[in-house]
């Protein structure tokens, strides 16, 4: 692993300069953002909260994908570019399972719905986990000793291959999933409505996230993962099977992506070969925002990105609108990487200089 001291020679002057200006600019930007949110809230509190619920739902979905990036980055220091496409294939698996295997339709009974969702979830998790581990075995493992950009390049190649697998399987158009989730309100107080579909998304996501945290913190395999992430060579010397641990991490990340795919297919109702690329970049931004390699950070970043997206697209007073969502997300990505590469919750890494 590349953990040598990075040279500070040419950077010292910048550092001292930016140590005064950058916090000031950042504070100003955050103040403007808060002012904008407050004005929007005052203009329509109920609407604001409803939009916020959309952000929460999107954020929960992004968290599932972002955790996959963070898990893999934490253990291999590799940006798994193909992860978004594994997520997309997970969505297609789920759509196929829901519609062609379980034959769900919009008026299915609650029991059938729950059974079909749980069944599809298990299949999608297993399929994506195995797929992700296979990608690691084929495209990343042979390049462990190569320069750092080599596995990133194969990851991009795998991403393209997976997109074309999706095109070959489902064609270049959208695969539609009819709205299976109930869309009625859970509660409706003072103009604020919270619908069942949003609750179900959170209800699928939250247990998976808690399970993941428990797994990484409490189990023997999770301990092996953390040890490998910290120092691969030392972990190997302590008798940890590093290759198996890495494969396992990829299975775990793939299973999360599969869950995300199912949630996406259910909630948004349509999925296409390039969905994974878009969602993947957003989720990657979320992981970087929270501090890549940091599990709670990924969830925090995903929720923030979800709120930013929904407020940008939904609010009425001076919002740039959905045309600019991607630009805003990528600007956040660039700003975070340039000025605070360790993210909100992460620690300084050699990448950040």
């Amino acid at each position: 692993m590349a953990t040598h001291a990075h040279t500070e020679v040419s950077l010292r002057r910048r550092r001292s300069y930016s140590s005064y200006v950058m916090p000031a600019v950042a504070t100003l930007l955050v103040a403007l953002l808060i002012a904008w949110l407050v004005v929007n809230f005052v203009k329509g509190p109920a609407y604001f909260v409803t939009i916020g619920f959309i952000g929460l739902t999107n954020g929960a979905l992004y968290a599932l994908v972002a955790l996959g990036y963070t898990l893999v980055y934490g253990i291999l220091e590799l940006i798994n570019f193909a992860h978004g496409d594994v997520f997309m294939l997970g969505g297609l698996f789920s759509a196929t399972m829901l519609l062609s295997v379980f034959h769900l339709h919009a008026h299915a009974s609650t029991l059938a719905l729950v059974a079909a969702i749980v069944g599809s979830l298990l299949v999608a998790m297993a399929a994506c986990g195995i797929l992700n581990a296979a990608i690691e075995r084929v495209a990343y493992r042979p390049l462990r000793g190569a320069p750092r950009v080599a596995p990133l390049i194969t990851a991009i190649g795998m991403s393209f291959i997976l997109e074309d697998v999706a095109i070959g399987w489902k064609g270049p158009g959208y695969t539609a999933v009819p709205s299976l989730l109930p869309t009625g309100p859970v509660f409706s107080v003072a103009g604020i409505t919270y619908t069942w579909e949003k609750l179900i998304v959170v209800a699928i996501t939250a247990p998976v996230l808690l399970l993941l945290v428990w797994f990484v913190k409490q189990t023997r395999q999770g301990k092996a993962m953390r040890a490998t992430a910290q120092d691969r060579d030392a972990a190997a010397m302590m008798g940890i099977d590093v290759n198996r641990t890495i494969s396992f991490t990829f299975i775990l990340a793939g299973a999360l992506a599969g869950t995300g795919g199912l949630v996406y297919a259910l909630y948004f109702g349509q999925i296409r070969y390039d969905t994974g690329y878009q969602i993947g970049l957003i989720a990657f931004t979320a992981a970087v925002l929270g501090g890549i390699g940091n599990l709670p950070g990924a969830v925090l970043g995903a929720l923030l990105i979800g709120f930013i997206q929904s407020f940008n697209e939904g609010l009425l007073w001076h919002a740039p609108g959905s045309d600019w969502t991607e630009s805003i997300v990528f600007s956040i990505l660039i700003l975070i990487l340039v000025f605070r590469p360790e993210g909100l919750l992460g620690e300084r890494t050699p990448e950040g200089a």
């Binding site: 692993m1 590349a2 040598h4 001291a5 990075h6 040279t7 040419s10 950077l11 590799l78 940006i79 084929v138 495209a139 042979p142 390049l143 462990r144 000793g145 190569a146 320069p147 750092r148 950009v149 080599a150 990133l152 390049i153 194969t154 991009i156 190649g157 795998m158 991403s159 393209f160 291959i161 997109e163 074309d164 697998v165 095109i167 070959g168 270049p172 691969r232 060579d233 190997a236 010397m237 590093v242 290759n243 970049l281 990657f284 970087v288 045309d323 600019w324 991607e326 630009s327 990528f330 600007s331 990505l333 660039i334 990487l337 340039v338 590469p341 050699p350 990448e351 950040g352 200089a353």
Partner: protein
């Protein structure tokens, strides 16, 4: 594993040849030139047989094969003229001559020349428009080669520079800004047309300079990141710029980029009437019609030659050696007194310059600059060219660019037609699939396969730069000397 397989194949091969009386010892006893000649003749013969039986045979295949043999068999390295070593220029000059004369033997007065053979699977020789695109993409790949090949920085947003160059041509040589009326040598501008119309040659230079400045502006904050973080930041820029172009039809009420419609028409290149009458240069490339983009092709060859010249000279300069030093070991380079930021920024600016010139020429050739042409896949497409050909090697990069551009514009179509004709519905041989395969639909998956296979099996590319190959096979100091896990 691979080595053992190769040894087994080789042993079996010599076993069979030994039965025929040609043992390994007798073969190695022959002079090198004879062995090279025999091998080349065998390979050319196999190719000719393939053309004859699977392609469309024309007698012109024989002189073509002869030219290939003459170029491939002798070693030209030691050739001298009056004591000066000129050997290493012979093959590039011969290839250049073949390229320059391409419009003459590939095209006749009324279209594609029927005299050329058709290759098996790949079909006809490339069209003139494909040749122009090959030149443009070779320029871009060489530009990216400054960043990826020489300085070792992964840039996933190179399309941003392409886009900036293209829009520079759109702003400076079209009627986009109809509020003003500025003319300076614009070609094909009819009376009463408003907007900025500047001679395309000046626009090319301006586009290069502006794009290089953009490279500096993007590079200054980002280049202190290392490795994959830099790649992601460049990807971010490569995504943002096309979005700005797409939504830039009312930036504060000002129509900057004309949105999704793009800027069109853009003035074609040309030299104007004065140069036409006095020096015989073409007045207006766009008005020529039936000469199959000949002038566009020769012009892009000139631009490409300039790019090659700059690539070779810069590589051997103090700056180029600093780039290679940074690529191999950043810390050691800094310790030797190389200013990291300045050197990297120069690599970025130089690469951006050529990307910008290529983008402006592309826009002028197509007569439009459209936001749909600038997406992430194009960045990776250019990256595949560099990686397939051989990072850091000028000839490799050009080979990769030409091959992939050909595949993208015609090759995949031809391959698809061949596959469907032989194995598809109503196929002549035997039917394997029942609905026609749309091979060009899978173009990026095919490039993805190329990326993965090249990185796994031959990371130094088809024509490797010797130094880069050593880095990949022996590792750089950035890496651990052993991997305890494997």
């Amino acid at each position: 594993m691979r080595r053992r397989l190769r040894a087994a194949i080789s042993a079996g091969w010599w076993e069979a040849l030994g039965r025929l009386g040609l043992s390994h010892e007798r073969w190695t006893a022959l002079p090198t030139t004879v062995r090279r000649a025999v091998k080349a003749v065998i390979w050319t013969g196999i190719s000719l047989l393939l053309v004859a039986f699977l392609g469309v045979w024309q007698w012109s295949a024989l002189p073509m094969a002869a030219v290939v043999l003459v170029l491939v068999v002798p070693r030209y390295g030691g050739v001298t003229i009056r004591g000066r070593k000129v050997g290493r220029y012979i093959i590039p000059l011969a290839v250049l001559a073949i390229a320059i004369t391409y419009p003459f033997y590939a095209y006749s007065a009324d279209g594609v020349s029927p005299g050329l053979p058709q290759l098996p699977i790949f079909g006809t020789f490339p069209l003139m428009s494909t040749m122009v695109n090959m030149g443009i993409f070779s320029m871009m790949a060489l530009g990216l080669n400054f960043v990826v090949g020489y300085a070792g920085l992964l840039d996933l947003g190179y399309v941003a520079f392409f886009a900036i160059g293209s829009y520079m041509a759109g702003w400076l040589a079209s009627s986009q800004f109809s509020q003003v009326n500025i003319r300076f040598g614009g070609i094909g501008v009819i009376q009463g047309l408003t907007g900025i119309h500047i001679s395309i040659w000046l626009v090319l230079i301006a586009a290069g300079i502006v794009t290089a400045l953009a490279g500096v502006i993007i590079g200054l904050p980002t280049l202190r990141l290392r490795g994959d973080y830099l790649a992601i930041v460049t990807l971010g820029f490569g995504e943002i710029l096309p979005i700005v172009a797409r939504n830039g039809d009312s930036l504060g009420g000002f129509n900057l980029t004309n949105g999704t419609g793009g800027i069109t028409p853009i003035d074609p290149p040309g030299f104007g009437n004065w140069f036409h009458h006095h020096l015989g240069l073409p007045a207006n490339y766009g008005a020529l019609g039936t000469t199959f983009d000949r002038d566009y092709f020769w012009t892009v060859l000139v631009l490409l030659l300039l790019t090659i010249f700059c690539s070779a000279r810069l590589r051997d300069s103090r700056l180029g050696r600093a780039w290679i030093a940074i690529r191999e070991d950043e810390v050691a380079a800094a310790a030797m007194g190389i200013p990291l930021m300045r050197t990297k920024t120069w690599a970025y600016a130089t690469g951006a310059f050529f990307g910008g010139v290529a983008g402006a020429y592309y826009a002028s050739y197509n007569g439009s600059s459209n936001p749909d042409e600038f997406y992430f896949q194009i960045s990776v497409f250019i990256l595949v060219m560099v990686i397939l050909g051989g990072m850091g090697n000028i000839w490799g990069v050009i080979l990769g660019a030409c091959f992939l551009t050909y595949l993208n514009s015609e090759g995949l179509n031809n391959i698809g037609a061949w596959l469907n004709g032989h194995f598809g519905p109503g196929g002549s041989d035997f039917q394997i699939w029942h609905t026609p395969l749309d091979v060009p639909l899978y173009n990026f998956g095919i490039y993805g396969v190329i990326l993965v296979v090249v990185m796994l099996l031959r990371p130094e590319g088809l024509i490797p730069s010797r130094r880069r190959a050593a880095e990949f096979h022996e590792g750089v100091h950035d890496q651990p000397l052993y991997d305890a896990a494997v």
